[in-house]
Amino acid sequence: MYKNYFYKKQLCVLPRLLFFVFCVSFFSPSIAEENPLEYKIKAAYLYNFTKFISWPENDSETFNICLVGKDPFGSIINPIETRKVKNKPIRLFRLETTADTRHCQIVYLSSLTKNPATLVGVLTIASLTPSLTVGELKSFTQSGGMIAFFQKQGKVKLHINLTVLRNSGLDISAKLLEVAEVYEGESND
């Protein structure tokens, strides 16, 4: 059921996403370098998610954060590797494709990645493994992503697709919901 929804959604969202990625990549090829504060915040938020979201137990020795596609953070995000999540050191993986995202607890998909296949891959992986998919813009969540960053009054805000999140097996704190805009997507069930 989830898979069906995922694919359906993927098909609907994909042309808009591709368009968006195209536009962004066209006007601003390196976002992090142009707006380092924003990505600093986003990097911090990536880490902060670990406080409010619970992953199911696994035997991985590291907490893996995977940046799929183009990397908008650059070196800004690197210090995150000094931190730990539940005593597991954070590992940062920069992946070209979604093929290796199976072991990622957080999968971040930059809006620079214009390849719709990647988005589909990400959403697919996320539906198969308990991974938190984080992307840019509300469209990401509307497309089936779990959390999306978006700008509101100059601030980075969260947009959460609660349905997807709940279905993925991750446990989300109510406190996180308080600070985010919650999108109740339609269920595939």
Binding site: I41, Y45, N48, K51, F52, K86, V156, K175, E178, V179
Partner: protein, 790 residues
């Protein structure tokens, strides 16, 4: 705090204690209640706000994480419900203010900058709560709540004050109820105090306190009564003792002074004051030195110095004190220092009036050194002064003269007119002699009729002239006594005192010897002692005789001779002789008595010799009974000393009975001089022996100085006319007249006369013509040993 309390009455003390304990209890309770309330209140407030901060912090973690200030502010706004909170702030993990909240009423500035290490604290009435927000061991930020507890505090305080007021009221009510009960304790004490005051005011120890209760106060009353009883007893005893000692002190016959260090009188006993003719009160604070004789001031001050110098000793001295009325008294002062707690170097001075003792001792001293009769210096004093003069002469090379005066015929006055006359004569002569001496010369009475004169700085020649003058004065002096007039002479011996003379005893002996020589030469003359003096040499010879006589008596070196006495008238009678004594010296020479009798007389051996003669005579008579049968009378000489010897009479009576000699056949011969020298004792002696049947003859009558007056008093049987008259009777008319008159007077008085020195027939015939009864002499018979008499 306790000191001012001590002076309060017991009631006030008890009230004070009650008050103090109530107030302090109240205060302590209030203090702790306050402390406890505030602590608890603060704790509660802090806990409450801390919990809220915790909650808010927890709720705000996501807001902080994802920069949602509005959500955070919403969270903070929940504090509005808490009245005390004025504002609250939320800081992010960098310490920057994230969001804040404040009540509308609060006007002040909120949310100060956050510093590291800030913790929850109370600042006066405000409470600042800091709470760090931690999630998964990670700091998210800090919640700061500022609350103002002033109002809450005030409410708390009001409650406590109310509580305290209630407690205070309760205490006051309790106190007011309790106070009257204190009288239970204080009333008996007050009563006891009144009694005590009465006793001490009235000095009446017979009063007693009344016991009202059976508690400690009751026991105190009993104890007090017992004590007062003891005090009453002791007080009475003390008064008795005090009076006793006061009497001892005041009536003590010594002056007792208590003196201050500078001699002011602190106290004096009544007797002492009376002695000084003042009262004790008037003497107080006067100086003791006001009453000390000026001459003794130095000594008196010295005594005090001595006392200070050796404070443990008692010091004594005798000084004079001047009384107020001018009397001077001698006192023996005894002083010692007394140091009491309050007074240093005070003196205790005890003075004993020794005026009488002093007077007596002066008198005794005077009497010891002066002759009571004449007032002249006596022998002892004279010896002392002489000794000093002799010692002085040895150093100073001065020449002085010592004169020894012996009155002639003094005994005549004494014996004929009595001792009163003799004493008066000595007194007058003393004055006369003194009047003719220089001022510095010392006249002393050395014995019965002997005087001594010590002439200072006087040559022998000058002394001789003075003595001649004295002799003339004495000779010219007429002593009148009861219608009779006496004149006496004086024999004077002079010796010089100079650097070469011997000691005082020797010098006195020399002067005595010279005087004796003067007497020997015929009296009433002056003889100067010279070391080579012949006359004196013979005197020196006498000394050798003393030893010989003593030896002779022990070893019977004496022999008895007899010289016949015959009646001049033709009437025959039996054997009649005078017993004489001779000394046989070591060479067998017979020594006549003239050689040793003077020595025997002078050195007290005459009596012993007399006894020897009498005992040997009686022994001889007893051994020759035929001779005793033929014997009419046998005379034996007695010296003057024997007449006054008390043992002599007993000796004679004993020896009469020992040898059974008929008493009427013994006649004792005494010399006129010896008899007159001791007229009283001689008369008694004669009367006693005559009463037993013995007879007496008076030897050498006429040669002495006697007058016939003596003869009346001497109860003798025979008069022996001095041979000096008899031997020249043929040629000298005076002697003839003398013999004739003595014979006549003798006969008139009923005495038989014996003429001595009858050397030839012519004298014998003439004596016969004159009517003399007996004759004795070489013309009749020479003295022969007794055995040859037969």
């Amino acid at each position: 705090m306790i000191k001012p309390l001590q002076n309060l009455s017991i009631q006030k003390k008890l009230i004070s204690i009650l008050l103090f304990s109530s107030i302090s209890g109240l205060a302590i309770a209030a203090f702790f209640i306050l402390l406890l309330e505030i602590t608890v209140f603060k704790q509660n407030a802090e806990n409450e706000l801390s919990t809220m901060a915790e909650l808010i912090g927890n709720r705000s973690t996501a807001a902080l994480s994802f920069d949602d200030a509005s959500l955070a502010k919403e969270n903070l706004s929940s504090l509005e419900q808490v009245k005390t909170v004025q504002f609250a702030c939320l800081y992010d993990k960098q310490g920057k203010l994230f969001t804040s909240f404040k009540v509308t009423a609060y006007q002040g500035s909120a949310c100060p900058d956050l510093y590291a290490g800030q913790i929850t604290n109370f600042k006066q009435t405000s409470l600042n709560v800091y709470k760090t927000i931690i999630l998964d061991a990670e700091i998210f930020g800090v919640v700061y709540i500022h609350a103002n507890l002033e109002e809450a505090f005030l409410q708390k305080l009001q409650f406590i004050i109310l509580l305290f007021v209630v407690l205070l009221l309760a205490t006051v009510v309790t106190f007011l109820l309790t106070t009257p009960l204190l009288r239970v304790i204080t009333a008996p004490l007050k009563k006891l105090l009144t009694t005590v005051n009465n006793i001490s005011k009235q000095q009446d120890f017979s009063q007693r306190a009344h016991r009202q209760s059976n508690d400690e106060v009751g026991e105190l009353v009993d104890a007090f009564n017992n004590m007062v009883e003891t005090v009453e007893h002791q007080n009475n005893a003390l008064i008795v003792a005090k009076n006793h000692y006061l009497a001892l002190y005041d009536d003590n016959p010594t002056m007792v002074f208590h003196l201050s260090a500078n001699g002011d009188i602190v106290s004096v006993n009544r007797f002492g004051a009376k002695q000084l003719d003042l009262t004790s009160e008037k003497l107080r604070n006067r100086s003791i030195f006001d009453f000390i004789h000026p001459d003794d001031m130095q000594a008196a001050k010295m005594l005090f110095d001595l006392c200070i110098a050796s404070p443990h000793k008692v010091h004594k001295q005798e000084i004079r004190k001047v009384c107020r009325d001018g009397r001077i008294i001698w006192v023996r002062e005894t002083a010692r220092i007394i140091n009491t707690e309050h007074q240093q170097n005070n003196f205790l001075l005890v003075c004993e009036d020794v005026t009488e003792t002093k007077r007596l001792s002066a008198k005794i001293e005077y009497q010891a050194s002066h002759d009571a009769l004449t007032g002249l210096v006596n022998r002892t004093e004279f010896d002392t002064i002489l000794q000093m003069t002799v010692e002085k002469a040895k150093h100073d090379d001065d020449e002085h003269a010592l004169c020894y005066l012996d009155l002639d015929q003094f005994k005549v006055v004494n014996d004929t007119s009595g001792h009163m006359a003799g004493d008066e004569l000595l007194k007058q002569l003393g004055d006369v002699l003194k009047a003719h001496l220089r001022k510095g010369d010392l006249l002393a009475r050395l014995g019965g009729d002997e005087f001594g004169v010590l002439m200072n700085d006087c040559s022998l020649e000058h002394a001789f002239l003075v003595c001649e003058q004295l002799r003339n004065v004495v000779r010219d002096f007429q002593f009148a006594w009861e219608d009779r007039s006496f004149s006496v002479g004086v024999s004077i011996g002079i010796t010089s005192i100079n650097i070469s003379t011997g000691n005082a005893v020797d010098i006195l002996k020399e002067a005595d010897a010279a005087c004796y020589a003067a007497k020997d030469k015929g009296r009433n003359r002056v003889h100067v002692f010279r070391p080579d003096d012949e006359e004196l040499a013979s005197r020196q010879g006498e000394m050798q005789w003393v030893e010989k006589i003593q030896k002779g008596l022990d070893e019977n070196c004496f022999v008895l001779y007899g010289q016949l006495i015959v009646p001049i008238s033709s009437d025959k009678e039996g054997l009649h002789f005078e017993t004489l004594v001779r000394y046989i010296d070591e060479n067998g020479n017979t020594i006549p008595p003239g050689a040793f009798l003077p020595a025997a007389e002078r050195y007290n051996l005459a009596t012993a010799l007399d006894k020897w003669v009498i005992s040997h005579l009686f022994e001889w008579l007893a051994k020759h009974p035929d001779c005793l049968d033929k014997l009419t009378i046998c005379s034996v000489n007695l010296s003057g000393l024997s007449l006054s010897d008390e043992s002599m009479f007993d000796f004679i009576t004993k020896i009469f009975s020992d040898y059974c000699i008929p008493k009427h056949k013994i006649c004792f011969e005494i010399t006129e001089t010896a008899a007159i020298g001791n007229l009283n004792s001689a008369t008694k002696f004669i009367q006693k022996l005559r009463g037993m049947g013995c007879s007496f003859s008076l030897d050498d009558f006429g040669s002495g100085l006697s007058s016939f007056a003596y003869l009346k008093n001497l109860p003798v049987d025979y008069l022996k006319i001095d041979g000096l008259f008899v031997k020249d009777i043929l040629d000298d008319k005076v002697d003839l007249a003398m013999v004739k008159s003595i014979n006549e007077v003798g006969h008139v008085m009923g005495k038989k006369t014996i003429a001595e020195f009858v050397e030839n027939k012519e004298i014998f015939d003439l004596l016969n013509e004159l009517g003399v009864d007996y004759a004795q002499g070489y013309g009749i018979a020479k003295p022969v040993p007794l055995d040859e008499l037969l």
